[in-house]
Symmetry: C2
Subunit: 651 residues, 2 copies
Amino acid sequence: MMNNKNAEFNHRNYYLSDIPLPEAEDIFFGESCVLDVIKSPASEILPLTATLGRVTSDPVWASTSSPAYDSSAMDGVAVRSEDTIGASETNPLTLIIGSTAIWVDTGDPMPDNFNAVVMIENIIEENETSISITDPVAPLQHVRPLGEDIVATELILPEKHAITPPDMAACAAAGLTKISVISRPKIAIIPTGDELVPLGTNIKSGDIIDSNSVLLEGLISEWGGVPSTLGPIPDDYKRIVNCVKSALNDFDMIIINAGSSAGRDDHTARVISDLGRVLVHGVAIRPGHPVVLGIAENKPIVGLPGYPVSTALTAEIFIKPLITTSLGNANLTRSNQMQAIITRKVNSQMGEDEFLQVKLGKVGNKVVATPLQRGAGIIMSLVRSDGFVKIPRFSEGLDYGSEIMVNLNKTQEAVENTIVCIGSHDMALDLISSQLRRIAPHITFASSHVGSLAGIRAIQNSEAHIAGSHLLDPDTGIYNITYIERYLDRMPVKLVRLVGRIQGLIIPKGNPKNVNTLIDLARPDVNFVNRQRGSGTRVLLDSKLKELSISDEDIKGYDREEFSHLSVAATVQGGNADTGLGILSAAKALDLDFIPLMDEHYDLIIPNDYYQSNLLQPLINLINSSGFQESVDALGGYDTHDMGKIVAEFN
Amino acid sequence: MMNNKNAEFNHRNYYLSDIPLPEAEDIFFGESCVLDVIKSPASEILPLTATLGRVTSDPVWASTSSPAYDSSAMDGVAVRSEDTIGASETNPLTLIIGSTAIWVDTGDPMPDNFNAVVMIENIIEENETSISITDPVAPLQHVRPLGEDIVATELILPEKHAITPPDMAACAAAGLTKISVISRPKIAIIPTGDELVPLGTNIKSGDIIDSNSVLLEGLISEWGGVPSTLGPIPDDYKRIVNCVKSALNDFDMIIINAGSSAGRDDHTARVISDLGRVLVHGVAIRPGHPVVLGIAENKPIVGLPGYPVSTALTAEIFIKPLITTSLGNANLTRSNQMQAIITRKVNSQMGEDEFLQVKLGKVGNKVVATPLQRGAGIIMSLVRSDGFVKIPRFSEGLDYGSEIMVNLNKTQEAVENTIVCIGSHDMALDLISSQLRRIAPHITFASSHVGSLAGIRAIQNSEAHIAGSHLLDPDTGIYNITYIERYLDRMPVKLVRLVGRIQGLIIPKGNPKNVNTLIDLARPDVNFVNRQRGSGTRVLLDSKLKELSISDEDIKGYDREEFSHLSVAATVQGGNADTGLGILSAAKALDLDFIPLMDEHYDLIIPNDYYQSNLLQPLINLINSSGFQESVDALGGYDTHDMGKIVAEFN
């Protein structure tokens, strides 16, 4: 699509006219054919055994009674109550089997004219043909009368009710074998884009794996719809129109994914307006504003933006209600909300409703919410998210420490069972996150990588249970301790060794630029990639540069900051830098070369209260286990000798 | 199975030795092969698109980075940042297309040696080959660097993690097409019993529809297992043994349903002990105590009792943990708990843990829990249940008004959106329950049928939003008003007409006993079925009998009490009574004959606060709608003329 740029230049409509979200919702959900999908869904008749989780379209009435006859509620003998009058301990009464007493098991029908049951425990065997009893029994004793559970014609289930296992069993007992349920709406997903390639393709530069269709199929299935992906289709107006036309015959609703903006290759709005009517183009929400809402042939047709976080959010806002409301909201576990304290100041654009993904955890007695990376392209922000907070369009953002209301996508209990680790990144943390689930599957280890100093500050502010830190005191050559003394004054914490590791220069295979020491960073032909301020690696670099009297300004790329060792390695791997400072294991992970410069300690700072808590106990056990140490050793480049050892205590 | 009773008599072991629940759990879940199912589940590799909701068996690491190359984050032109230095409003800088500027769309790879993007909005078109800009751009501006979202080798998902739609999309973006997940345990359900017939059979006396297998299949599916029903199998030791033997080859776990007690036809314990080992026989819980827990060929094999409520409860206690723990508890939405006030005194057996099903609702500012019918055979108690309360084995029960902790099977929000209606039953209430969902699908109408007087008391005690009542004042012939004045002194309530209906004698088709008036009830050949004390129908009967000077003692069956019109009709239909007093529509529903005796009013008593609440508004609208009135008319026997009318107000 690099040709004909100028010819098409004039077709561009650079500015969408974004309208506020409530207005867009009113227009779209108020449109009659959209209302039809919601209010008059189709129904279908299914065998009872296939209805678990489906939603009744009509009330379900009992066809037969249960029990369908008077039956014994116990193992014992059926008797006529009047025959038992006068029985007592001192005067046992004899009953003749087959005449005044008939053996029955639980569930057996009562013999004609018998009206009570004597439990087996209360029977004295006399001989093969007679028994005796020592108590009279009242009429109907231990008898389950016809219809005790269900009476024919009784209401078993209301309409628009999500069917549970007991519901199915009750319907079975009530003589029903088929149930009329609301049909699940069929939704076509049409992914568009020249760059899209299906899952499993070996991607080359310019290719993007069509992960959005996987995302949309999953979401639609979870909400109760039946998704089908038709595509990917290239950015070709004709082909998209044809695909939509044929989908209009077979589906209840259509999603065109990507191409919803107003760029050169953005055909969605034109496709919808040519086949039907565009109701809304552009909604003032972030992420996600280039949304197209329309109808064609009396069916809703929606263009969703292509960045995955925008796709998920706009689908949640405009597609989910269509599906769940048509199913009566019957099996919607309404997302719970939870109050939390935001751990960072967040700026937000006036005029837009922003939906910010956050990671939650309960530290001490407050629930803290850490904002996740905000780019609409960051699908991992959804993977890591525990919920989102909506920043309204009349607000400029959230102040540090504000109380916010989070729309949860996990349970409150799961939030309370989350270990919050903030600070520097090490790959051993990934292994903790994964292996902890073997021994404590209810616990989530959530680690945010913002650098060592920010981790210590999070401990200081009671916003984390653990901080990962590798901060060198250049004056003493000692790691972490000076920083704890400086920032965590009078806070009882333990310093726990995680790993010893090797810092050095990460370089491409074969070292094409012949980089060998930190001095080479000042060479004009060497592009460097740096770590963010406050990270242990940055502190290390700056102290070493000072020793070597190299000025920042002499290093090309000093200002380019990445947030993890792996990102530095990826930058070198991608050719965007010739070298960066990082740990050996990151170089190994991406199969790069490495020039070792110095050993360092990577430790965990843990307040005493948390160190001894039930929440952290499995983690402490894990890092002290030889199995875990071996799996860290297997990564390469680590010294795990003192892993789990308390190297200092502060009281 | 009525033959050979005595020959087998001596095989009976009347008394199971019930052990406390915690002891049974320790024995069973501590057994090594049971631990194996839990701790070392099998795994399988699935295509990524088939993994929604499945649980990872291993950590998932990124195979490729995403983006896999530096790409444009905007529509615009790629430039070299250094070429843009000096651009300003007053001094626009010209760039040549194809040389210093290259058109790019969002997602396009950055051309080699270009390091920034100028957004389309900031470009001034000069002509076909050149553009100009008014601002310089920094390196990497509007560029998504390689690995911004995901870096190859990064942890995407930990092990034992339930896969969500964003997880799937992230895996796709990270180049993964297959995921190793924990296998869902395969569980055989073997229903046993001569009386069992499959769904859809036309049942005759003695038949029981095998609804328990439907129940167990549904529960096991919900918990994450794969159920298969093998049966029903008759109560025949050999056939059960053979079925279990073959199931041991194909399944991870086996459930034998019913026959778990110690009666004549109870083979489960012997089957397990002959094929393996019985660990526990009998657990001190109610309902459910005859449980058999064992192992055979290193697989758990469990005998569950046959009453449906017992089946569900014991499966929840002994089967669910096996499944969910083997799946890492990863997608277990832990059932929430909620505090509530119990609305009735509940006696419970010392020495047994009792699990009591309750119906919940929020009335005023308290959450009230109404106990549901307790019989182990009452599957409708599970259908109606909002959760259960555990009455511990050291307790004799719950006092009226006690605070209890309810284990919810719905959300707290659903509890808060429940209309609690207590009192007399009328079939129009069933229609309300069903049709209300059309206009307010988030609201549940929960009605308990305990009689008119108990309904008024529930209003008095703020335990219900609505009471259904048809209480005749015999002195005045006026319905309800006298009772409201007596019991609801100084409480502002409205009396709302629901229906006029006809009370009379319900009799079998053709009136075989020639019953014609209430006087016939005193005939010695007529068996009567009565309603419970406090019901409007009972009040009516008693006042009429007094008028006619008929004594209770002259009526055979006066003491036999049923709790609803339909139950009275079912009793007459089943031949257990010749007649009962009830409403015409109940007779019509079961196709019985009817002798009309008098008209009566069935009204709703609603405190003013609730009448005006958002919760009740849809219900008030419903009963005032002509559509609803028509559907009540269609039942027959009703006068819906004044439906919804406020017939009296008390302030």
